[in-house]
């Protein structure tokens, strides 16, 4: 079966968005000093 082009592009797009989100997250967690760990009773 031939691989449709849109699938390849969408997949690349998702990967790119993930990279950006991780970068933003790392930047934010550095500045606020909070691990943003997802645990509700974590941060006081």
């Amino acid at each position: 079966m031939e691989s449709p082009d849109w699938q390849a592009w969408t997949a690349l797009g998702i990967v790119a968005i993930t990279v950006i989100l991780f970068a933003v997250r790392a930047k934010r967690s550095n500045s606020s000093g909070c691990s943003n760990c997802g645990k509700d009773d974590g941060c006081s």
């Binding site: 691989s3 449709p4 009773d41």
Partner: protein
């Protein structure tokens, strides 16, 4: 927090019911328990007064006194004195006092009155006090103290309207002080005198249900039998009972994969969804039932009051490794997740003991390691899941982690030396209560949600990146092995293979270990992706197909790659390695220095690597490779 609203703080001794009142007033679902020191940080919420005025409410950790004490109590003190940088000084303090124990609880109220902040006294658990035979006189208490006193039952929601009315403007004036300010002796005497007037104790000592229960549960022999029985039930249900819902999640996963494969043409996106997202995230989500069960049991023990008894029983044992019974709760919680465990160490008075407990807590096998164990252990047993042998290996894994933690704790405690101010074991044993089911269930759901949120964000992200790293750059070839070695992951594994080979792993396993440094449960998903496991199309489990694939893998010279030696070495690595960035961050915050967080990370990783190396080499000598 809006500056315009008045700030009201709830303060009082530990286990006086502050958080229960906080939840009742704000409609929040903060964690409550029948164990001193459940609240270790300040919680904030909003409420309305009887006249509909918006008020900000904060729930402070319990403290016995505004002097000395453990870190959680210092937080409360700083806020009340207005020394906290983040929280302004409260406009009014509601002192929550346990009516059954006014002699003690009044002391903190008097100390707060001395600070010249308006005070309202909430006399909590009046029903239990009256049941115990106390004759309470709130009016007299109010006269003596010069502040409003409201009898309430926070858990049943009684007296809340009256309490809200007393919070209306103008706030009560600071009363005249009938004792010498700043003199603990004089304050104490005044408190005792007031308590004697306002809460008359019955002459005879009555034996309560709690007394009778304690006679069994704290018995030197029977107590241990019960304790071991409870612990056994806890772990047994986690490993056997949780299998049922885990099966459902697994079939759901296979079903979705099937649908997507049927609906989409073959291509990159379909690969990303089925292999990356469903395969990767699904292999993590499957452990939700076990995590929920563990939190449920811990919640049950806390809520009923048994946790203090367990701490009491364990104190003798813990003291041999330089810890005290108070380290038991943090360590037990760490079996679920090291993060709440590390947070719970705030109730430990001795700073050095607290440090040691934090240091070894991640060695209690947390629930995130379960996926890895469940994948690997059956490989030692010829691929079949379940059975007594598997249970035995699981037990040894937990025991090994725990014992190592205790040995290291012992050594570290010796190195740190004694505390400057010696602290002694002193713990309140609250009366047994029926568990507050509503809160336990909501707390368990909260936890489950936090876990799912993590799976849906961080783990999802890692899985997508990993998929990309195993896909790009692309190579036009029919040989999957050649394609893989051309990708980013292929190149990385080529580089790290020489490092991990003495431990019995090839480059791909090494890469899977690398990916799991952010969160260890990622390992299973990574292995599935890296060894290109086809998603099972029937109900048969994905884990089985990963195992089948792994069992077929060989080194270039034809030896089996996942020999018993290699599997044991992998297990050892996962028992000891600290592969959880959030834990490192929380440890750094709790100890107040990154030195401890990073030091712990490096120590545990090196320890894991060396242990795994030694084990593999030894196993090879015994012909297990």
């Amino acid at each position: 927090m809006e500056a315009s609203n008045d700030l009201i703080a709830l303060a009082g001794n530990p286990n006086a019911g502050k958080t229960t009142l906080f939840n009742a007033l704000t409609g929040s679902i903060e964690k409550v328990g029948n164990y001193p020191g459940v609240t270790v940080s300040v919680k904030q919420g909003g409420m309305r007064s009887a006249h509909g005025k918006a008020l900000d409410l904060i729930d402070l950790p319990g403290c016995y006194s505004l002097e000395g004490g453990s870190p959680d109590q210092q937080i409360a003190r700083d806020v009340l004195r207005g020394d906290n940088a983040k929280i302004p000084k409260p406009d009014l303090v509601v002192c929550v006092l346990d009516a059954s124990n006014l002699e003690r609880h009044l002391q903190i109220a008097l100390e707060i009155i001395e600070l010249e902040i308006p005070v309202v006294v909430a006399l909590n658990m009046v029903d239990l006090a009256e049941k115990a035979g106390l004759r309470l006189d709130p009016v007299k208490l109010s006269e003596e103290l010069g502040v409003p006193v409201v009898p309430i039952q926070a858990d049943k929601g009684k007296g809340l309207v009256e309490l809200k009315q007393s919070l209306g403007h103008p706030f009560p004036a600071t009363p005249e002080i009938h004792w010498e300010t700043g003199d603990a002796e004089s304050r104490r005497a005044f408190g005792l005198q007031v308590a004697d007037l306002a809460a008359r104790r019955p002459e005879a000592h009555t034996s309560t249900v709690s007394d009778k229960l304690d006679r069994i549960l704290l018995h030197p022999v029977l107590g241990w039998v019960c304790f071991i029985g409870i612990m056994f039930t806890l772990f047994w249900s986690i490993f056997s009972f949780a299998g049922i819902p885990m099966g459902w999640i697994e079939s759901l996963q296979d079903w979705t994969t099937g649908i997507i494969e049927g609906a989409m043409a073959e291509g990159d996106l379909r690969d990303l969804i089925t292999q990356g997202i469903i395969g990767g995230v699904g292999s993590v989500v499957i452990f939700l039932p076990q995590i929920l069960l563990l939190f449920f049991f811990i919640g049950l023990m806390e809520s009923s009051g048994y946790m203090s008894r367990a701490a009491f029983l364990m104190d003798g044992f813990m003291s041999r490794v330089g810890l005290s019974g108070k380290a038991f709760l943090p360590l037990l919680s760490s079996y679920a997740c090291a993060i709440p465990g590390v947070m719970a160490t705030r109730t430990i008075d001795s700073p050095k003991e607290r440090l040691v407990t934090i240091f070894v807590a991640p060695w209690m096998s947390c629930s995130a390691r379960l996926p890895v164990y469940l994948l690997l252990v059956p490989m030692l047993l010829g691929g079949s899941e379940g059975g007594a042998k598997q249970a035995l290996i699981f037990l040894s894994i937990y025991v090994l982690g725990t014992l190592t933690a205790f040995v290291v704790a012992r050594i570290l405690r010796g190195k740190l030396g004694p505390d400057e101010v010696p602290t002694h074991f002193l713990l309140e044993l609250p009366p047994y209560r029926f568990p507050q089911w509503k809160y336990i269930f909501r707390h368990v759901l909260d936890r489950g949600w936090a876990f799912l949120k993590n799976a849906g964000t961080v783990i999802l992200g890692i899985m997508i990146l990993l998929w990309a790293a195993t896909t790009y750059p692309k190579l036009d070839s029919d040989d999957p092995a050649e394609v893989l070695s051309h990708t980013i992951v292929g190149r990385i594994s080529h580089v790290i293979e020489p490092i991990v080979k003495p431990m019995g792993f090839d480059g791909r396993t090494g890469t899977a270990i690398l990916t799991s440094f952010a969160a260890r449960e990622v390992f299973v998903g990574s292995m599935a992706q890296l060894f290109h496991v086809d998603e099972a199309d029937e109900d048969s489990e994905t884990r089985n197909s990963i195992r089948d694939q792994l069992a077929k893998e060989t080194w270039p010279d034809g030896r089996k790659m996942f020999s018993p030696a290699a599997v044991i070495s992998l297990l050892i690595f996962y028992i000891y390695a600290l592969q959880c960035l959030p834990t490192t961050a929380v440890v750094a915050r709790e100890t107040g220095s990154w030195k401890w967080g990073i030091g712990q990370f490096i120590f545990m990783t090196v320890f894991a690597g060396v242990a795994s190396l030694i084990v593999y080499q030894l196993a090879k000598l015994f012909g297990l490779a």
